[in-house]
């Protein structure tokens, strides 16, 4: 909507500008790490490991990005992920069907999405409170299901969990002379399919454009004839659905249900989205940016660890510092642009 018009006037929209900055910083950071720290950073597997470990975070962040573009917030995503993992593991250990477990994961996510979306968009309750309640509910349900960690021992599932895509030519030769092929987990494939689908939806689909419209200016969107309530509802439904999916991917990565699974994931997801150039005020954002946001966040942590700061507090202090840097950068860049426009 009106995007082509804007393109002619300006070389880059806010969304594209912020995304470009993030991708640029990520590449520079990774290159510097390759030059100065070497070690694992020279292997392709490092990137794949980052993706393998964070596939579920990427999926959750994509859902959050959609909600944030629409001007809302969803902090229940981490807790829903944890609930999905626990329920699926318990179902599978009780002799369940693999396919049904996937359906359960998606259904739980959908239930949360529909419930929260209804409360937020049709009853006009503040999203923070509703999703906070959703988070409490999901966390509480997880411990009600089981306080103790549960390991999935379903045969079909273990097969699925251990299935990895191996790419020999991207591998490296280990010290003992064996070729270690690069490994990618199935979760990463799922995450990338999600990213592509959401990217296409946000760019070319009417619903996707509507998210930007209601996030940018709700009043104008209403006057343009957009069903604001339904659009907002859909954003939460999508976010819920993706957290359900992320739960399954999380389970495929860890293979066990634990009450503390995905603790703090909601804040990591918000941080990834912000670093990726999504604004909490809505109307600006992109899932590709979010992907790089997640990768940037992980790279910072990896760099801290491999630079020898072994004290446990350095990781989060540097993450906080980087977050501060990105947030200030966005504020300054956008502030200068808006002044120029005037």
């Amino acid at each position: 909507m009106g995007k082509n018009l804007m393109k002619r006037k300006e070389p880059l929209t806010d969304t594209q500008l912020l995304m470009t900055i993030t991708i640029g910083i990520f590449l520079v950071m990774y290159l510097l790490a390759m030059i100065f720290l070497q070690g694992g950073f020279l292997h392709t597997q490092q990137i794949f490991d980052m993706l393998n470990d964070n596939a579920s975070l990427i999926i959750v962040s994509c859902g959050l990005t959609i909600v944030m573009i629409g001007g809302g917030i969803d902090i229940s995503v981490g807790a829903v992920t944890s609930l999905v993992v626990m329920s699926c593991v318990l179902y599978l250990n009780g002799g369940g069907n693999l396919f049904v477990s996937m359906l359960i994961a998606v259904a739980i996510g959908l239930c949360f999405g529909v419930g929260q979306g209804f409360l937020i968009s049709y009853l006009e309750i503040q999203p923070f409170i509703v999703t906070l309640a959703g988070m409490f509910f999901a966390r509480g349900m997880t411990t009600i299901l089981s306080v103790n960690p549960q390991k999935a021992e379903h045969e079909g599932f273990t097969l699925l969990r251990d299935t990895k895509i191996e790419i020999p030519w991207l591998g490296y030769v280990a010290k003992n002379g064996n070729l270690v092929p690069a490994r990618i987990e199935l979760g990463v494939v799922v995450a990338f399919i999600c990213i592509i689908l959401i990217f296409v939806m946000l760019k070319y689909n009417r619903m996707g454009r509507n998210f930007y419209a209601i996030g940018g200016n709700q009043q104008s969107a209403l006057m343009l004839g957009i069903n604001v309530k339904r659009t907002r509802f859909m954003s939460y439904v999508l976010s819920g659905l993706l957290s359900g999916l992320s739960g399954y991917v999380f389970m495929m990565h860890t293979g066990a249900g634990n009450a503390t699974n995905a603790a703090g994931m909601e804040m990591n997801a918000i941080a990834s989205s912000i670093i990726g150039g999504t604004l909490l005020t809505g109307g600006v954002g992109n899932v590709i940016g979010t992907l790089f946001g997640t990768l940037t966040l992980t790279t910072i942590k990896k760099i801290v660890v491999s630079s020898g700061f072994n004290d446990p507090w350095w990781q989060s202090i540097t993450t906080g510092g980087m977050l501060c840097f990105f947030i200030l950068l966005q504020s300054v860049v956008l502030g200068r642009r808006s002044r120029k426009k005037k």
Binding site: L119, L123, I129, A133, F136, R139, G140, T143, L280, T281
Partner: protein, 358 residues
């Protein structure tokens, strides 16, 4: 007739939800166990005469939350957003408090005051950091405070040097539990003191009006000669003071600082208290009394659930259900529908009641 209608459509104004919630909880508890709110006078281990009972433990347990909710209300009203770093900042303040106390040769009244002042200053500096991000750089409060939320507890860990130091002193003990000779728990007195301070602040300055006008429309307030940047910054610094008070209470209760568990998840409860208090989370009009009642609602709910033998990890799920019920009752759409329904029911008797009123 008019008052009648108003009462049904939320006549108590902002305080409708918190008051209804507290009344419902009290009734529920009285039905469940008539002796639930009984207060007993007992001698504690130190030989002091103290009050005990569920009611006292509710009021006592909600102290930190109430103090934080007061400051959070101000931030919410001025900036239209919430500070999610209060728990982490309280951990930092607590660590500074313990660090200063530990470095002193003997713990007496003077060192405790010195330690509290340094904790207060540190918390105010971190508050100012958040405030500058929000007021000067125009970043949404939740994102700006996400920075401190991410790294705050690690900074506290760093201050402690990777340990969880303990302090034992009769003064710290008195702050956390009872002052000899006074049967009321000290944290309750601190909450009362903070509430009085806020009342005095609003009475003698125009802060309340200025905060509201900045929250309703920042640029209009600026055009009217109110320094909105300063008001926002000030609200965060005041929250910093509240955070240090809450941190001090938290540390004094246990006599140790644990950076991981001190006031864990308190930021969510605080925001909830502000919301239950009927304050608009988008800024503008506010009532500190509402937030304080909100804090007690949350604590009463928690204690009620504990009394019903719900385990501490499962409490969250039930809490969520109650929260949803409360906000659904308080939601503008439901209120409107309910108001219309009541009007419809009343319309049959309308003529009669109007005649009766005149």
């Amino acid at each position: 007739m008019k008052t009648n209608k108003k009462l049904f459509a939320g006549g108590l104004g902002q305080l409708t939800i918190p008051v209804i919630a507290i009344v419902l909880l009290v009734i529920f508890n009285l039905i469940r166990d008539p002796g639930f709110f009984g207060i007993a006078v007992m001698h504690n281990n130190d030989g002091n005469i103290v009050l005990t009972g569920n009611l006292i433990s509710i009021i006592n347990g909600a102290s930190e939350l109430a103090v934080l909710a007061m400051g959070m209300t101000l931030v919410t009203a001025a900036c239209g957003g919430q500070d999610i770093s209060v728990g982490a900042a309280a951990a930092i303040a607590g660590s500074v408090l313990v660090k200063v106390l530990k470095s002193a040769s003997a713990i007496n009244g003077g060192t405790v005051i010195l330690a509290f002042c340094s904790a207060c200053i540190v918390a105010m500096i971190f508050g100012a950091f958040n405030g500058v991000l929000v007021a000067v750089f125009k970043i949404q409060p939740m994102i700006a405070t996400l920075i401190l939320y991410t790294c705050g507890r690690s900074i506290a860990y760093w201050i402690n040097g990777g340990a969880t130091p303990t302090v034992s002193s009769p003064i710290i003990n008195a702050i956390g539990s009872f002052i000899p000779g006074i049967p009321i728990p000290t944290p309750v007195l601190i909450v009362a003191l903070m509430a009085i301070l806020f009342k005095l602040l609003f009475h003698f300055t125009s802060l309340e009006l200025f905060t509201q006008s900045v929250g309703v429309n920042g640029s209009a307030a600026r055009l009217n000669g109110i320094n909105s940047t300063f008001i926002k910054l000030l609200s965060f610094i005041i929250l910093g003071v509240c955070v240090s008070v809450a941190g001090t209470i938290g540390v004094s209760r246990l006599g140790l600082i644990n950076h991981e568990t001190l006031l864990l998840d308190v930021e969510m409860d605080t925001i909830l208290a502000v919301a239950i208090g009927g304050n608009n989370l988008g800024g503008g009009k506010f009532k500190i009394s509402g937030s304080i009642i909100g804090a007690y609602v949350i604590q009463m709910l928690t204690i009620t659930l504990y009394a019903m033998k719900v385990s501490s990890t499962d409490v969250k799920a039930y809490k969520a259900i109650v929260i949803i019920l409360l906000v659904v009752i308080g939601s503008p759409v439901v209120k409107q529908r309910f108001g219309k329904l009541v009007e419809k029911l009343m319309s049959n008797k309308k003529t009669v009641s109007v005649k009766g009123a005149e």
